[in-house]
Point group: none
Chain length 225, copies 4
DNA sequence: TATGAATGAGACTTCATTCAT
DNA sequence: TATGAATGAAGTCTCATTCAT
C-alpha cells in the first residue's frame, strides 16, 4: 500500500518540521541560550528525548533553524528576480526583496549571525552562501552583457549591497514605526551603479592615466613570461 | 590631604578599570554567556563579590565593556579626522580609520551587536551614538559648505557607509589573511560621493593616483600566483 | 517436519546465545552500568526491543552473562578433576584449574561479584553454587575414604580455598606481568592440608617422589608446546 | 580570638565530615550509581552546589567515602594489635579484628572493591595499602625474631590471610544469622602457621627434589623467551 | 516474533548572585 | 569596601523500556 509507506516517511519529515518550527519560535522569543529544550519539545508536541533523535544537540537544532531561514530567503529571492530581466532590474528586485524580507524577519536574521558557542568554522554561517550567490550571478551576467564594467569586483560590491541593506534595516527598526524603504532602494541603486558603471557619463580623453595603464599592461605581459 | 583623597578615588577607578579589562578579555575569548564571573574576578585580582560592588550584574559589566569600546573608537576617529580639512577628506579619513579599527577589533565589535539577554531597548547599542555622530557632523558640514548636495539624507548615507564597512570586514575576515583595504575605501568613497553629490554627473572617475593604485593592485594579484 | 521444528527452536537458542555473547563483551568492556542496551542489541544483530523478548531487563541479561560464566567454570573444573583420582590430587587439580581460569577471566569473575542494583538476595550469586559443590564433594569423598579428618568442616575450608585463590589472583594482577602460579598452589595445598589433616603433625610437605612427579609434569607440559 | 579562628577552620572540616557521612549512608543504602547527589546534600544539610565545593564530582565523593573506611580500618587494626606482643599473637589479634570489622561493615567493604567507572589506575583501591602493610610488618617482625620461617613470602601469605577472611565473611553473611567467628580464626591461624612455619616438625634438607624443581623453573623461563 | 521510534524521568553539574563576616 | 563560601534554580542530555506496527 503506497499510502502506508508514504505516511511513514512523511511522518518523520512532518515531525522534524514541527520541531524546527517550534524551535524557531522559541529562539526568536528568548534567544539561543535562554530558549529551553523542554519548551521546544512541548510546543512541538514531542517528548524531550525525541528532539535528540532528530538533532544531536541544541546547537544542531539551532543550526537547522538558521539553515531553514536562509533556504527560504534564497528561494524567495530567486522567485523575486525571476520576473525581472535586465541585470539592472534584477538588482533592483533583489534589493527590494532583501530589504523587505530582512525587515520582516529581522530577529531571525540577527540570530543567524550570532555565534553562541566557541566559534565553529563552517557551522552556522555557511548557509549564507546560497543567498549571496544570487547576487554574484546577477553581477556576472551584467558584466557579460556589457551592462556593468568588467573591472568591477563582485565581492566588493556585495559588501556594499548587503551591508547597506542590513544596516538600513537596523536603522529603520531603531528609529521607529514608519519604515520608508524606497529611499533606501534608490540610494542603494545609485551607489551600486556608481560602482558598477564607473565610466558612464563622462567624456573620455586619453590622458596620463591611460598612458600609465598601458605601461603597466606591458609590465603585466612581462611578468607573465 | 589631597594625596590621600586622590588615592582613594583613584583606587576605585583603577579597580573598575581592571575589572572591565579582565571582563573584556574574558568576553572576547569565550563570549558573553560562556565567560564566567568567577574567572573575571580572579583575573582582575578581586573577589567575586566585589564585582557586584562595581556592576549590578553580568549584563551591566558586559555593557561597560561595550561602552568602553565605543568610547575608544569615537576618540580614535575624532583624532583621525582632525588632520583632514575638507569634508571629502574627512570622510575618507573616517572610512579608512573605521575599516582598520573594526578589522583589528572585530570580535569586540561583533560582541557589541549581539543580543545576549531578552532584548533590551536602549541598553547595549546606545553607545554607538557618539560614534555615528561624527559621521553626521561631517556630512552636515559638507552640506553647509556646499560640498555635498543639500537634499542628501545623512541617515541614509550613514547606512551605506557603516554597513559597507562592517560587511567588508566580515568578508575580509572570512576570505583569508591578506587584507586589502584600499579597494574597499575606494569603492566606498565612490559610492558615498555618488549619493552625496548626485548632481555631479553621477559618478566620479577615479583620478590618476587611484587608477595607478588599481593597476598596482592587479600587479599584486599577479605576484600572488 | 523435524527439521523445520528443530530449526525454529535452534534459531531462538542461537539468537539468545548471540545476545548473551554480545552482552558479555559489552559488560566486560564497559561494566554493568556503562554498557548500553542499544549497543548490545546492535552488536548482537537484533533490534533493541528484541532484547526484551529474551530477557526481562538489563539486570536479567547481566545475570544470564554471569550464569553462563559459572556454568562454563563448573564444566571445566569437572573435567579437570576427572583425571585425578585421590581427593588430594583432585584438590590440587581443582586449585590449579581455578587459579588459571580466574586469572584468565578475571574481569568477568569480578563482574560476578559486584552488586549493581539494590542488593538482591538470591539473584546473581546463586550461580556459584554449582561450582562450590565440586569442592564440597571432593572433601566429602576425602573424609569418606579417611584421607581427611572427619571433623573437618568443608564450609570453612571452602573459604580458605576459594578466598586464597581469589585474593592471589588479585595480587598477581596488581603486581605485574610474570604470574607465578606454582608457589600459590603449593602454599594453598599446604594450608588446606594443614586444616584437613590436623592430626598428621600439622602439615604435609610434599615428599621427594611427589615433588619430582610435579616437576616432570611441568616438563611434559613444556614439551607439549 | 583563638576561638574565632578555630571555628572557621573547624566549620569546613565539620561540613566535609557531614558530607562524607551522609554520602556513606547513601552509597551503602543505594549503591554508587543509584545514590543521588541531591539526597546526599539534603541529608548533609547543605545545598547541592556545596557538595561540589568539597568534592569535584560524585566519583571523588565516593572515593572519599572509601578512603575514610580504610583509614578507620587501619587505625582500628593498629590499636588492636598494639596489645599483643608476639607476632603470633598479633596475627591472631589482627585476624580477629579484621574478621569482626569486615563482618560489621561488609557492605562498605564490598563497596570498596567495586569499580564503577572505567577502571582508574590508582584511584579507589590504593587505600588498601596502608592496611595491608600492617600484616606485612607483623610477618617481617616474625621472621626477624625467628618465629616464622625466613623463606616465607609475606605476599603469598597475605593472600591466604585476607582472602580467607573475606570469603569467610561472605559465607557467614550468606548462610544466616548465627555468625561463628572462632572456628574461622582457628582454621585461619592453623593454615597461616602451617605456611609460615613449614620446617616445624619436619626436617628440611636441600635435596634432589629441590634441585630438580629449580632446574625445571629455569627451563620454563627459557621456554618463555 | 521482531522492530526501532518514541518516551520521559531523572541525574549531574554549573554559575550568577547573595550575605555574613 | 571587600571577601568568598554557600546557595539552588535550572538546563541539557542519556538511556532503559515500551508499544504500535
Amino acid at each position: 500500500m503506497t499510502v502506508g509507506t508514504k505516511t511513514k516517511r512523511e511522518k518523520l519529515a512532518e515531525r522534524e518540521d514541527a520541531i524546527v518550527s517550534a524551535a524557531t519560535e522559541a529562539f526568536l522569543e528568548k534567544g539561543m541560550s535562554a530558549a529551553k529544550m523542554a519548551e521546544i519539545a512541548a510546543s512541538a508536541g514531542v517528548a524531550e528525548g525525541t528532539l535528540y533523535l532528530y538533532f544531536k544537540n541544541k546547537e544542531a537544532l539551532f543550526a537547522a533553524v538558521v539553515a531553514r531561514h536562509w533556504e527560504s530567503l534564497t528561494e524567495g529571492a530567486t522567485a523575486a528576480i525571476a520576473k525581472a530581466d535586465s541585470p539592472d532590474d534584477q538588482l533592483e528586485a533583489l534589493a527590494r526583496y532583501t530589504l523587505r524580507r530582512i525587515l520582516a524577519d529581522w530577529k531571525l536574521f540577527e540570530l543567524s549571525f550570532v555565534l553562541h558557542y566557541p566559534v565553529k568554522e563552517d557551522g552556522v554561517g555557511s548557509d549564507r552562501r546560497g543567498y549571496v550567490r544570487i547576487f554574484d550571478q546577477i553581477v556576472a551576467r551584467g558584466i557579460d552583457r556589457g551592462t556593468f564594467a568588467p573591472e568591477a569586483d563582485p565581492r566588493l560590491v556585495r559588501d556594499l549591497f548587503f551591508g547597506t541593506i542590513e544596516y538600513a534595516v537596523r536603522s529603520i527598526l531603531q528609529t521607529g514605526k514608519n519604515p520608508k524603504l524606497e529611499p533606501v532602494v534608490i540610494m542603494l541603486l545609485t551607489a551600486v551603479r556608481a560602482v558598477l558603471k564607473p565610466g558612464q557619463g563622462q567624456a573620455r580623453t586619453p590622458d596620463h592615466a591611460e598612458r600609465i595603464e598601458a605601461a603597466v599592461t606591458r609590465l603585466e605581459k612581462l611578468a607573465e613570461r
